[in-house]
Symmetry: C2
DNA sequence: TGGCCTTTGTGAAATTGTGCACATGCGACG
DNA sequence: CGTCGCATGTGCACAATTTCACAAAGGCCA
């Protein structure tokens, strides 16, 4: 029984959830077989990449035919550790924390929100998506009682490091950080950062390039017909 | 006047906003000079990488001294197109859309929310962070009137492609997609996808690995002292 | 059963990103 | 005005990731 299969490249790990999402949809459409080509199209990537990615899980395709959707779903689930639920705890009941608590997409995909805590007494006690906001001091209790290993930091930037420290102290080993700051955590704790403003800034860069490219073109050929070239 | 400086690698573009964030903080602390080493530490990356990244902008450091914070801020801003504001429009006033509209972090960093629209008449007219939710049919008007080029898709998955199509038709050329689906857009339109569940699934993978590793260890050495090795 | 068609799985090449190591240039100080 | 020390900028090797190209293998039909 191959226990620790060869390590899966990080880039592949980031794509497996996308494949899984698509395969789930296909399963709902009663499609039970899919080729690397088809999956690639739906995922917006190259077919060879799909095959290589899936090959890290093992040889689960059938040559000349493709992959059996149900079985592939099962295998990806297992590899990602999604064959059981992961309770998560949210720190910070501000705008974002509230939205996350109310966001159905989490529970649907196996990440039940076990609790949401906030330091602000005004927010404590209010209800959010079927949950009561608990005081920050309950964090340890919640983590221990519900076996939480994933924490979400949805605090203002200035409080994010404290939140992370408390999560780690409570025993959390994975943190999803929405605050625009770098978190320092001990070795053995995984952090992923999602910074909404960064995403917009990357888009801005591309917009800016478009603008620059357009003006460079004008520079090169100042006498364009009105209503000329559009990209 | 070097117009289109050599293209900046995508990986670097993704880090520039992080540097910018840190540099802004340093500026607020009245620190006006920083070394690649110092910046690297704060950004959680390697110093050589910082230098290489910054070198794509030009030679803006001083050997033996470091980088002037203010000037660097100015240069990164310019390169990312952040020397002016970018109005954005949000499609979908559900949980996430509401949170985004109310999230101060956007406006603060130059991305003013020019409007938020929803297809649901019940939501239209309600107020969110100083904005009135407009009907979906106003999308074109808003985009045109405010010169919006960035759109945010915060709809349920099933409506996301329609939302994207409408945004593109209205003239938007960059889309930030929060729905867990692949968007098809014409060439020349940039899409970035942020999928919160995917982030959690990646964390789940690492958690699962930890669990597997621990059980493998037990397998290998079944007779551990109670309270034995902790990672 | 045998040949044909299709699609996987995977070496190998190409591309992209990272990190080291050090020559170079700049400011400080005497 | 020269020397010293420090931090940048970059060539280079290496690591990771993507893509190509094709042999191997399953299924289908005659």
């Amino acid at each position: 029984m191959a226990r620790t299969r060869r390590r899966i490249p990080e880039a592949t790990v980031a794509r497996l959830p996308v494949y899984l999402q698509i395969l789930d949809e296909q399963a709902n459409l009663a499609i039970d077989n899919i080729s690397s080509e088809g999956l690639a199209e739906l995922a917006g990537v190259n077919a060879a990449k799909v095959r290589k990615d899936l090959s890290y899980l093992g040889s689960y395709g059938t040559r000349g035919v493709g992959y059996e959707v149900g079985y592939l779903v099962y295998q990806i689930r297992r590899e990602l550790g999604l064959d059981h639920d992961w309770p998560v705890v949210i720190v910070g009941a501000g705008n974002l924390g509230q939205a996350l608590a109310g966001y159905g997409g989490f529970g649907e995909r196996g990440f039940r929100v076990a609790g949401i805590v906030d330091i602000d007494d005004v927010k404590v006690g209010s209800e959010l998506g079927g949950l009561i906001v608990a005081p920050l001091s309950d964090l340890g209790k919640i983590v221990a009682a519900r076996g939480v290993s994933i924490g979400v930091v949805a605090t203002p930037p200035s409080a994010a490091q404290d939140a992370a420290d408390l999560l780690v102290a409570a025993g959390v080993t994975s943190v999803l950080n929405f605050a625009p700051v770098m978190l320092n955590v001990p070795l053995g704790v995984t952090v992923r950062k999602v910074d909404l403003a960064v995403e917009l800034q990357i888009l801005s860069y591309h917009e800016q390039r478009r603008v620059n490219a357009a003006s460079a073109q004008l520079q090169a050929a100042p006498l364009v017909r009105r209503g000329g070239a559009s990209a």
